[in-house]
């Protein structure tokens, strides 16, 4: 399905941040904002909810810890108990390093895989972007439009809020 976008191009992140607030107040729905670097405060301005990735990371870490303890206790304590250095079969202090490492391993990889999955980031042959300058030095505010949208008014709102250009672009897959 082809989508049409109005693109407000901004030169500065502080101008953009201010514009995001004003444009939303004016009742315009912002489709997405593309920036070359993370801007602090834009989450609140756009109403993006706080990511729940830390919670996921915690539970991945917990899984790693549980797995590590189970593995060591099962292997050395039950499956093939051996006396090593006169220690008990289940020598918990000696299990701490491996438990810690597996906690970190599961936590990091679980979280990163979740991040790539939910953000739909995977290797592609081609990456269509709305404006190639948005990964360089421009801040792009994309607003989805259709034939009923009053483009003059929208352009005016964007211009008033500091947009240096207002463009339109159609994307077949986005």
């Amino acid at each position: 399905m082809t989508k049409r976008f109005a693109l407000g191009i901004f030169e500065d992140e502080d101008v953009l941040l201010h514009a995001v607030e004003n444009v939303r107040e004016a009742g315009v729905k912002i489709y997405e904002v593309f920036t070359p670097f993370p801007i602090h405060g834009i989450d609140d301005a756009l109403g993006i909810e706080r990511s729940r990735l830390p919670i996921a990371a915690f539970f991945f870490g917990l899984t790693g810890l549980a797995f590590a303890l189970w593995m060591q206790i099962y292997m050395l304590g039950f499956d093939w108990p051996m006396i090593i250095g006169g220690k008990p079969h289940i020598a918990l202090p000696a299990f701490i390093p491996v438990s810690f490492e597996l906690t970190v391993l599961f936590c990091c990889h679980g979280m990163v895989i979740t991040f790539y999955t939910i953000s739909k980031l995977y290797p592609r042959w081609k990456t269509p972007v709305l404006d190639v300058r948005s990964t360089d030095d421009k801040f792009v505010m994309a607003i989805e439009v259709n034939e009923n949208t009053d483009m003059t008014k929208l352009t005016q709102i964007l211009r008033e809020n500091g947009a240096s250009e207002v463009n339109q672009k159609e994307m077949s897959k986005f």
């Binding site: 502080d14 993370p38 093939w80 990091c108 995977y122 081609k126 990964t135």
Partner: protein
Amino acid sequence: MQHVSPVREPLVTGGKTYHDVTQDVCRQVEAAPNIRWMAALSVALLLLGVFFYSVYRTLWYGIGEWGLNKTIGWAWDITNFVWWVGIGHAGTLISAVLLLFRQKWRTSINRAAEAMTIFAVICAAMFPVLHMGRPWLAYWVFPLQNTFGSLWVNFNSPLLWDVFAISTYFTVSLVFWYTGLVPDFATIRDRAKGPIAKVAYSMLSMGWKGSAKHWSRYETVSLILAGVSTPLVLSVHTIVSMDFATSVVPGWHTTIFPPYFVAGAIFSGFAMVLTLMLITRVVFKLEDYITIEHIALMNKIMMVTGSIVGVAYITEFFIAWYSQVEYESYAFINRATGPYWWAYAAMMTCNVITPQLVWFRKVRYSIPLTFILSIIVNIGMWFERFVIIVTSLHRDYLPSSWAMFSPTIIDVGIYVGTIGLFFTLFLLFAKFFPVINMAEVKAVLKYTVDNGPTYTGHDPHHAPKPATTHGVPASAPVNYDKHD
């Protein structure tokens, strides 16, 4: 909002705009390889050839090709392993610990330092794997039953802890580094002209578009990765030190080892970062990003950790005497005055005495002196590991088995070869990957000068208005007493 110090020097000099950052960093990725890079790569590849030849000799004829003997079963291999792992630690320190401490100056050096971590760990891993003698059976270190029969690995052994620590450290550092690279790959992708570059960087950038939602998650992921990498990096060298500390060999059996090794690792790592950065900034003309302030700050960290190491050396000696254990005392007196006195003297000079020169501002801010000093520290830290390993082993409880170690040409070849491996990887990275984290540098660009931003946009007709957020001018330093 960011607090701007009126006294501190700017992080990025030269009044760069966002576009300048992109240009400066992408320049060497997009340009044809220059002659200096080709020359450096040729030398690195030559050394890599030495590595492959030495590995071939080791695998074909066995570990007998090395200078090890019955008394000294660990020598250059473990020395080199610990040396390389230690070097890697500075990268994680810069990317994780300094992120948690909100040290903005890390942004222009973290990419290259993390790359250094990964390549150093690859080099380090070569030594234990080759020392196995049959590296094709290296998977036996994982918890698989022996010959798939009945017996499991020994979870009480520090050498097994090392397997888990190093593999976790390597893979976590790799994803941390790669996740940071994704937005910069997107920048290169959107500038790419050639068809191969377009596809290659599109693949590498994973379809990154820089949407606000993705950036929000990206920041969360970076913060959590930094949070867990910090204890991870400390645990890795702690576990490496336990390879020694949990034994009963005099000179190894000390509780001071974990903090002492971690400090030493950061010390040697910063020395290597300095060596690499001083070359990189000149070769790729990045003096505005890796400024003299960066060098001075890294010098300070080097001096602090070097002093911790110095205190550890002295503490070891004190405890050897105070413990009244004659074997322990002998081990330390033998270190300083025995047949390996020269290695001990080299260690003491390079690690404890020369880094103290950094107290002088002139030295801290001098590029040639810093370069020489960083090389000296690298040498000194190699000797530290050699002293700990070889001098402790060569005279143990039974005088009848006392021996000396002399390396063979193959020992030297593998060590020099890993330096070739390291520089081959680093040079390829420097050519094809952005050596400076563009996105993060752009994010700190505005807040780098004494009186607010230098950056005012490109087009004078559309110069940004003095935008305000929550009633505070964006360009003004925030007074925390009033606005919080």
